[in-house]
């Protein structure tokens, strides 16, 4: 590998045009986020709050006088936690089971897992809405959680599958030969081996859940998650306190993900 790096033909000097191009792409990617952050400090109090008229922290203070906005954020966290736990449970059992056993219908499950990943989200949204209405499940937190489980579980399974592909069944056999029962074997042998995969799969499920707009839009009933609250206020012109909360969320998620990422890299390096 080191040898190959040295003989790379076009790794002679950083390309000026390439660097400029990459910088403009990053500018493109971050531009609307800068706009949101800037607007969250905007002292302009007249709709549509766009022209910048000086700096203020007012919106961050106002944020705490807006219980509807804060409770929508609470709903988002609740749905994300519940659906992540469920999809990690279902996904871990499925990924290990599919890795371990050969059975009839395995290829069918395999194919079905790709449906929520490949079809446009709006299809999953309206089809879940139709079925919830058909069997008269009242729409709200429960239907939100179920729907989020439906689209995030396949991603958990795919993440774990990559992890399991290099995993040897003989460890489990050894544990069982030495007298451990199934549950002990799973808890002390299988689980520690696949834990990094479970963590990154769970993180992915959580991220997908808190960002989801389209599926939640159809199955929420009267419950508002944060993205749906944002959707509502975009239609009436986003009040800058939504920008303030978004800025705080960006800071929070960046912090959390950086922490977990460094944690993941550590456990990855150990095994």
């Amino acid at each position: 590998m080191i040898f190959m790096h040295n003989t790379r033909p076009d790794r002679t000097r950083p390309h000026l045009i390439g660097t400029l191009f990459a910088c403009s792409i990053y500018l493109f990617l971050f531009l609307p986020i800068f706009v949101v952050i800037l607007n969250s400090f905007n002292a302009n109090k007249t709709k549509p709050y766009a022209t910048f008229k000086g700096f203020t922290f007012e919106w961050y203070i106002k944020l705490f006088d807006n219980p509807a906005l804060l409770s929508s954020f609470g709903n988002t966290l609740l749905v994300a936690f519940a659906s992540t736990v469920l999809s990690v449970l279902i996904g871990t059992l499925a990924a290990v089971g599919m890795h371990r056993y050969k059975f009839k219908g395995k290829s069918a499950i395999d194919a079905l897992l790709y449906i929520p990943v490949v079809i446009p989200e709006i299809i999953l949204g309206i089809s879940l809405l139709s079925v919830f209405a058909w069997v008269s499940i009242p729409r709200g937190l429960i239907t939100l959680i179920l729907s989020h489980v439906a689209f995030s579980t396949p991603f958990v399974i795919f993440t774990l599958r990559a992890r399991l592909s290099g995993y040897d069944l003989t460890f489990e056999e050894a544990a069982m030969d030495l007298g451990a029962n199934r549950i002990k074997t799973f808890a002390y042998v299988t689980l520690p081996l696949i834990l990094p995969g479970i963590l990154s799969g769970g993180l992915l499920a959580f991220t997908l859940s808190i960002d989801d707009v389209i599926i939640s839009y159809f199955v929420n009933g009267t419950v508002k998650t944060f993205p749906l609250k944002v959707m509502e206020s975009i239609k009436s012109g986003v009040a800058p306190d939504v920008n303030a909360l978004s800025t705080l969320i960006l800071l929070g998620t960046t912090g959390i993900v950086l922490l977990t990422q460094s944690g993941l890299f550590k456990s990855e390096a150990k095994s």
Partner: protein, 287 residues
């Protein structure tokens, strides 16, 4: 595979696989079949679904006004996909060519915008491009224009929003494909006297085409359904098939018609995925 005692396997196997099986049946298979059934139904004057069998919804969807929306959707999705490839390929190539440490940072910088809600970012674009937004203020200040320009509510704004939202889905598979490139093959090509352009066209491009195909699928298909982007930036002036579906399940309250539209969108998706697998693409690369 099954090395442990066969009879003892039944119970744990059922415990491990019945949750996923029931989830897929109740939350994926039955809902989709139900939508197919709905697409042949009708509504009465109280907007209630009547379980009758007819092709009326599909007949309605053949009218020219609907065709215009299908065409608009396909054109927007195609332009978005092409822009994502043209910008994404050199960008991913540039990242891969960096030393490992910088590469990791640059890669993370592509993902970080994801952590802000996608709606908020689209709203950021709206307020940037709006009549009293930053860009128009800048234009007026520079004297490029006296009156603010109308940059929103047209097809271009929708393409911009879609490209923005889906660009990372193009870059990530391209990154993976370019990273896997066997450099000895490129050297061989140079050694045999090929120039840069020829090496790119005949060696690098074919070897990384899997990334281009996977990225194209991951951009093209979602574009068709992202109704909030065409809603916010297109302002109802550049409707896509997703907007029609949303309206039938929302304000228009005609679920059977919306279901028929959804079946058309599913068929479109299946055709795209079939083309993808025929071209040698793997489903795993889409996960």
């Amino acid at each position: 595979m099954m090395t442990l005692n066969d009879k003892k396997q039944k119970m744990p196997m059922l415990t491990m696989l019945s949750p996923i099986t029931s989830m897929l049946i109740f939350l994926v298979v039955i809902p989709l079949i139900y939508v197919l059934v709905l697409s042949f139904c009708k509504t009465n004057e109280y907007y209630q679904v009547m379980f009758t069998f007819s092709f009326d919804n599909y007949k309605n969807l053949l009218s020219p006004s609907y065709f215009q929306v299908y065409m608009n959707s396909i054109v927007i999705a195609a332009i978005t996909t092409v822009i994502c490839i043209v910008l994404g390929y050199p960008f991913a190539y540039y990242i891969v060519k960096q030393p490992p440490k910088i590469r990791t940072i640059l890669y993370m910088l592509v993902i970080i915008p994801f952590w802000t809600n996608s709606l908020i970012r689209i709203y950021g674009w709206k307020s940037f491009l709006g009549a009293s937004g930053l860009l128009n203020n800048l234009f007026v200040w520079l004297g490029i224009t006296h009156k603010p320009l109308e940059l929103l509510f047209n097809r271009g704004a929708v393409v911009l929003g879609m490209t923005y939202t889906l660009f990372p889905f193009m870059v990530l598979p391209l990154y993976t494909a370019i990273e896997k490139l066997d450099l000895t093959l490129i050297e061989a090509s140079y050694d045999l006297g090929a120039r840069k352009v020829n090496t790119f066209l005949h060696v690098i491009l074919p070897l990384t085409s899997s990334g281009i195909f996977a990225g194209a699928i991951m951009v093209f298909i979602p574009t068709l359904g992202f109704f909030f982007v065409s809603d916010i930036l297109g302002g109802g002036k550049s409707d896509m098939i997703g907007n029609l579906i949303e309206r039938q399940f929302g304000s228009a309250n005609n679920w059977p018609l919306g279901s028929a539209l959804s079946i058309i969108l599913i068929l479109l998706t299946l055709i795209m995925v079939r083309l993808y697998t025929k071209a040698g693409g793997k489903l795993e690369d889409l996960g």
